[in-house]
Symmetry: C2
Subunit: 370 residues, 2 copies
């Protein structure tokens, strides 16, 4: 029996996402997600936004990040556990869902660990493209863990960075980063300190993992005209920038209510002035106003970026024929008769299992536009 | 390469859950979930609780319901769209996750549409077992949709109900319910109104779906000593009980901060007195205090019930060998080197795909208790 709207969900596993990135190319994925982020931030007012819901423990945090527009609801599950790498697990792991607002049907369940690395870098570069001085080519990259290569590529392709000065308290991480970036068009220097890495650069990117009130960027390191891309200060008690650096800069954030609690500005008074980045992207705010200004993007990661990334991977997977249809939701002949699906003799729930990915995505598309 | 803790996730589809219920039996599942709920509510103080996060639209609501204790984080995704049945979709669809608090690894991804029907009924019966008069055997069941059979069985097995008086504005729904319950030990009467259904009963259960400030139970229907199990008033603007019914009763709730917003008590002043049910289950509050008292369980559904249900299905699936291991998270040789998993030549992400469900559950168990 064919239902008008089967509750079919397409599942993209981590191996599916690896295939997706290999086939499209990582630079194309970063650029594609950046384009989505920019377009979605420009229609900021259409989204039902809230700060993410965080569950903190001694070792880390688990967060749920929901957002919706009139057509789609999205959320991400994501953790942050700095000690995970000691156990062979990534610090940050994630997955997410896109659902239809009008029926609540989940349409896509996707890995987002790899995708989060891509969208975080894309977000940083989208911000820097507006906030760094034109012609910025030299960047300090402080924190050379799982996120660092993605930042490097995003800044190469979207901002024009060609020279990277690397620093990490774990020198092996810097060596890994340098090896991964060999032959990708960068001049690379491994530095002995954050201050050394910051010498002569246009941009400082901090992507560190430790859950601590760290002071990685101090006022002495900052020169007029620099842009600071602060990614790793993203949790209460987890900061990277000295308060004086913030005090002397024009500070831009994703979603102010969330960043007040989680960002580096958690160190500042509640009335410390910041600008939401969408204002710049939508043309309501000029962004950087003069060449000597120091700009800070106090990035914590906002649900809208994951919405954008989920839409990108959904469409790319459909184009490449990746993913599989899963029966996360029961298919019932009569939705008021859930009980019948469980009765020993019932077979209704086992019918209609033959729907393909393309059918499901077509149906999702058709339904969306019905 | 074997990682100390592979981020393996066991996936239970809706068809898996159907098999689980068929093999264990629905009554055993309801009883098993009820036992878990009662045990978990007794250790209420160990949980990090918050009201669910709701995204409302004109047609319904999509909610995320997180909760955690020291070892496990759980959340449920659930929608409520009363018009879905017109499209052949269930009003309520859900799935959920259990994750390790110490690393953030999701260990179980499970359908929760069918499971929610079970846990909601189990919760109602756990409450009624303490709040209804001893010896209650007659129940009005108002709203004969997808949840109604589950309520009937839970009250039969856990409370001792043997006579049901059915009412629904859709008479076909009552006929469906009566047909499903035939031969299951009930005396059944289909009634022409809610008031008729309430005549002579010990318990009134309301499980209606319409998103409206309805007045299904009015003061004239209530007799001394009745217990009212109000399940369908669970959303702002969605109520079932006349305020005067609440005013004259002892009202019990799951989690007060959530119920103030979503429950039938949204109609009452903010200082209207209620008791959280865990107080009764843990022996801190007597519950019903005399035979003439009218008691109300203003149930909206709380994340802890889903935590309990997820633990039940996880253990039952392990016992029955149901489910499959999915690669929702990438397996990387070096967690600081996510980039390598995406490089065209890398094979690391494709290794270690042969782990079985039993191994993964064993590992999850071992890790939990390490």
């Amino acid at each position: 029996m064919l239902m008008p709207h089967l509750p079919s969900t397409v599942y993209l596993s981590a191996p599916d996402l690896v295939q997706l990135v290999r086939r499209k190319g990582l630079p194309a994925c970063i650029a594609g997600v950046a384009e989505r982020i920019e377009a979605d931030f420009r229609r900021w007012g259409e989204f039902d936004k809230s700060a993410r819901v965080a569950s903190h423990s001694s070792d880390g945090v688990i967060e749920l990040m929901p957002i919706a527009d009139a057509a789609q609801f999205a959320f991400k599950y994501v953790n942050g556990h700095p000690k995970n790498t000691r156990h062979g697990l990534p610090t940050v792991m994630a997955f997410g869902v896109l659902a239809d607002v009008d029926t609540g049907t989940p349409r896509l369940l996707s890995e987002l660990t790899l995708t989060t690395a891509i969208r975080t870098a894309a977000m940083s570069a989208v911000a820097a493209r507006r906030l760094a001085r034109p012609g910025s080519t030299r960047m300090a990259l402080i924190g050379n863990g799982a996120q660092s290569e993605f930042q490097a590529l995003a800044f190469r392709d979207l901002v024009g960075v060609r020279e990277l000065r690397l620093f990490d308290t774990d020198r092996a991480a810097s060596a890994k980063l340098a090896a991964n970036l060999a032959g990708l068009g960068f001049k690379l220097t491994i530095c002995g300190s954050a201050a050394e890495a910051a010498q002569g650069v246009d941009i400082i990117s901090t992507v560190t993992a430790d859950k601590a009130n760290a002071t990685i960027v101090t006022p002495e390191m900052v020169r007029p005209g620099m842009h600071i891309n602060g990614v790793g200060g993203d949790c209460p008690g987890k900061t990277e920038l000295h308060p004086a650096v913030l005090a002397d800069a024009a500070v831009f954030v994703e979603y102010e209510p969330q960043t007040r609690v989680e960002g580096d500005i958690q160190q500042m008074p509640a009335d410390f002035g910041v600008t939401e980045l969408w204002q710049v992207l939508a043309g309501h705010h000029p962004g950087r106003t003069h060449a000597e200004q120091v700009t800070v993007f106090d990035s914590v990661g906002f649900a809208l970026e994951d919405y954008s990334a989920l839409c990108f991977v959904r469409d790319a997977a459909a184009e490449l024929g990746l993913g599989q249809v899963i029966e996360l939701m029961p298919r019932v002949a009569d939705p008021k008769n859930l009980f019948a699906a469980l009765a020993p003799s019932a077979e209704a729930a086992e019918q209609d299992a033959g729907l393909g990915v393309a059918d499901a995505l077509d149906q999702a598309h058709a339904f969306q536009h019905a």
